[in-house]
């Protein structure tokens, strides 16, 4: 008789230990075949176990997935990724100075959002996670707008109702970011179903972290997408960590996240998430498939969360500090930069100049954003506006509560004035 025993997943290394990514099999760039966009999910199951990679270790684009983008487009991509990183760094600093309450960086995974937003059409609807700020940057949302949201100031698109980074952009076809994990995944499928019902050629795309893929909403998304062959791209951003839990706690020890797709009858493609060209190519492939009535695709982006989970987190408590340096897929920005330099379309000088330009741009945006108010300094939103938008039309009980708050604020104001007059 043998007794059963609970298996508890262990990350390869904890603080003080040597980083170890040997669990990750990395095939050489160019090896994965690029199947027809309408190939059946079963036919292409191997795309879920390997890894689509285009940029090789010398920074050259190789193999059938090379999207053959124009150098100008790659330069734009580099700019978007760098801007995302500079923006993240600035906002993190501003949080540390107490100017905003919270922040989450996307450092190390900028290629995912930037490449995908560039590979999709402007009319396609995006259902983002909190770590895909690059989507907004590619689509042209001004940094000032994003900063104003983080500041909860008078120009905040959420009118002070949301924590920092919970952006949305209706005109830009980007849905609202939710604090509740994974909810957007099946919603994107519903949006895509509506596009199909209405007979449009627009598609939807959504992102979740590998950790959040454990939520039931992941299953809802894949089931509905498969049943209705919805024109949707479902992305799992596998950055190895979900706060302190490594990807094994989301089931990554047994199967790749991409491999879940075929179980539902959906192609699953695993891609080097730090390879701009590969992410772009795979997204194009999935988008073509969706538009050609080929249905949904599940994409797993293999990447690494280089920064802390959020400004409330201290990763040195649960993972080796050196992991990011040891990450075998490198830095997406460096890789694209080296590729462009190899093409003769970029140089260290131009890169340095771009960095400087973007840094100045971020500074100018921040200076403008704070003129619309900060957490501590005016101008401020009117607190009684909090009662608006709960419903389309304000019911009686909310009107009454609004009056009560108005009275209260007036009293507070009068008391403060009286105190100031005395003092």
């Amino acid at each position: 008789m043998t007794q059963s025993r609970l298996h508890v997943p262990h990350p390869p290394a904890r603080p003080g230990e040597k980083p170890d990514f040997s669990y990750l099999e990395i095939p050489p760039a160019g090896r994965a075949a690029r199947p027809d966009t309408l190939a059946s999910a079963l036919e292409i199951e191997q795309l879920g176990t390997g890894m689509v990679r285009v940029l090789d270790e010398h920074g050259q684009a190789v193999g059938p997935w090379n999207p053959h983008l124009e150098p100008e487009e790659l330069q734009v991509a580099l700019r978007h990724m760098l801007l995302t990183r500079r923006f993240d760094e600035r906002m993190q600093r501003m949080q540390r100075q107490g100017r905003i309450s919270f922040y989450m960086k996307s450092t190390g995974e900028e290629a995912v959002a930037v490449a995908q937003a560039m590979a999709l059409q402007p009319g396609d609807m995006l259902f983002p996670s909190y770590r895909t700020q690059g989507l907004f940057i590619v689509r042209g949302k001004s940094l000032v707008d994003l900063m104003c949201q983080c500041l909860s100031n008078t120009r905040d698109m959420c009118r002070g109702r949301q924590m920092p980074i919970m952006y949305h952009w209706a005109e830009g076809n980007i849905f609202s970011i939710s604090g509740n994990l994974a909810t957007q995944f099946p919603q994107a499928v519903g949006w895509a179903m509506a596009a199909a019902i209405k007979g449009e050629d627009r598609i939807a795309s959504s992102w979740i972290g590998e950790g959040a893929s454990a939520e039931a909403d992941f299953h809802h998304a894949l089931t509905f997408a498969a049943v209705y062959q919805a024109p949707v791209i479902l992305n799992v951003v596998n950055n190895q960590w979900a706060i302190s839990s490594f990807q094994g706690f989301a089931g990554g020890e047994r199967r790749t996240f991409a491999q879940r797709g075929p179980g539902y009858g959906i192609p699953g493609v695993r891609v080097d998430g730090n390879d701009f060209l590969a992410v772009h190519a795979v997204t194009r492939w999935a988008a073509e498939r969706a538009r050609a009535r080929g249905g949904p695709t599940l994409i797993e982006h293999v990447t690494y969360r280089a920064a802390a989970h959020s400004t409330s987190d201290d990763p040195s408590r649960y993972r080796p500090k050196e992991e990011w340096q040891a990450w075998p897929l490198g830095d997406p920005i460096t890789r694209l930069k080296e590729h462009l330099i190899g093409l003769g379309e970029w140089s260290e000088e131009r890169h340095a100049a771009l960095e400087k330009e973007l840094e100045a741009h971020v500074t100018a945006c921040w200076k403008e954003a704070i003129t619309y108010g900060t957490l501590s300094e005016g101008p401020t939103l009117d607190p009684v506006s909090m009662f608006e938008d709960v419903f389309h039309e304000m019911p009686q009980h909310l009107k009454r509560q609004r009056e009560e708050l108005r009275r209260l604020l007036a009293e507070q104001h009068a008391a403060a004035q009286a105190a100031a007059a005395e003092g």
Binding site: C158, A214, L375, P383
Partner: protein, 338 residues
């Protein structure tokens, strides 16, 4: 006795129970190796091993469902939901399953699960890190619902919850994890070491579920409240200068009607305070109970001071939070009524 903040008191309760009862298992997102995002389970995995203190996948429905299965198979699971705002994916498992298992099987099956979850605002968490959904669960038959207001109670009540044969939803007001909070965010933070209830025995003790506590005896009016708002109510009473009796409800289900209503019958005036939204909030149940039990003793209409009926807005946290000024106004209101 030791000095503990609420996080340490909760940790100590779990430690005591893991040590005493091999059936106790503790799990949740980031609970194991890391020790929880609020550090409530710090050090427990190291002490009791990975089979008793577990990290879980990010799936609240899965966490509660697994807790039910473990409970049915003889364990005493203590599951953490990282924020009360993230409890909803588990709603079906809690409402349709956990709460009713004993009833629908005529007592043949039950799952003595404790669900711990941080609740409440005041930490700039916006609408997804600030909610107080206790009223949602008090409306479900078969669940006990508890919310402590200090370290001493937190430990004693958590131990009782784990030892209880029924499922318990145990809400932890995160604003007061590190110290009592009187509702003024501009004052420097006060640690629990300044408060008598920051003295906590290291060993086992239990505070019975279903017993309210008179926090401040008084004869002019009764303030019924729980969680963070106990401390805010105390500040409001100091502000108004009336001799009000403050009662910490502590357990919402089952409710200590005797203690509450004896007080209101004595004072004839009642103010109910909670941070959760007003409409169909737990205050409505308290108000109805007081009306039914104390009608002939009431000198003034019962007043409720609560969060507004909107989601918790990030920028207007302190306009939303029912602070001492609003409680004081209600208190004056019931005192003036004749």
């Amino acid at each position: 006795m030791a000095q503990m903040n609420m996080v340490q008191a909760i940790n100590s309760a779990l430690d005591v129970m893991l040590g005493r009862d091999p059936r106790v298992v503790v799990f949740g997102e980031d609970v194991g190796y890391f020790g929880g995002v609020f550090r409530c389970t710090d050090g427990l995995q190291r002490k009791y091993g990975e089979h008793r203190v577990l990290d879980t996948p990010i799936a609240e429905g899965g966490i509660v469902a697994a807790a039910i299965g473990m409970g049915v198979n003889g364990l005493r699971p203590v599951a953490e939901i990282q924020f009360a705002d993230y409890i909803y994916p588990a709603f079906d498992q809690i409402v349709s399953e956990l709460a009713r298992l004993r009833y629908r099987t005529a007592g043949d099956f039950c799952a003595p699960v404790t669900i711990r979850t941080p609740c409440g605002g005041g930490i700039r968490g916006g609408q997804t890190h600030s909610q107080s959904p206790e009223g949602v669960f008090t409306h479900v038959c078969g669940l006990k619902v508890v919310m402590p207001s200090n370290p001493y109670d937190a430990k004693g009540l958590l131990i009782s919850s784990i030892e209880n044969e029924d499922p318990v939803v145990f809400f932890e007001p995160k604003r007061i994890y590190n110290g009592p909070f009187d509702g003024d965010p501009h004052k420097p933070a006060v640690p629990w070491s300044t408060h008598p209830k920051g003295e906590v025995p290291e060993g086992h003790y239990a505070i019975p579920i279903g017993k309210a506590e008179i926090v401040r005896p008084g004869k002019d009016a009764t303030l019924l409240t729980y969680g963070t708002m106990v401390h805010v109510a105390e500040a409001a009473v100091r502000l108004v200068g009336v001799d009000a009796e403050i009662i910490d409800v502590r357990t919402m289900v089952p409710l200590d009607v005797d203690t509450l209503c004896t007080s209101v019958c004595k004072t004839g005036r009642c103010v109910i305070v909670h941070e959760a939204t007003r409409f169909s909030g737990f205050g409505a149940e308290l108000s109805a109970t007081v009306q039914e039990e104390c009608f002939w003793h009431l000198e003034a209409p019962i007043q409720r001071v609560t969060g507004w009926d909107t989601p918790y807005p990030h920028a207007f946290e302190w306009d939303y939070f029912p602070g001492p000024a609003r409680i004081a106004a209600a208190l004056r209101g019931v005192m003036e009524a004749r």
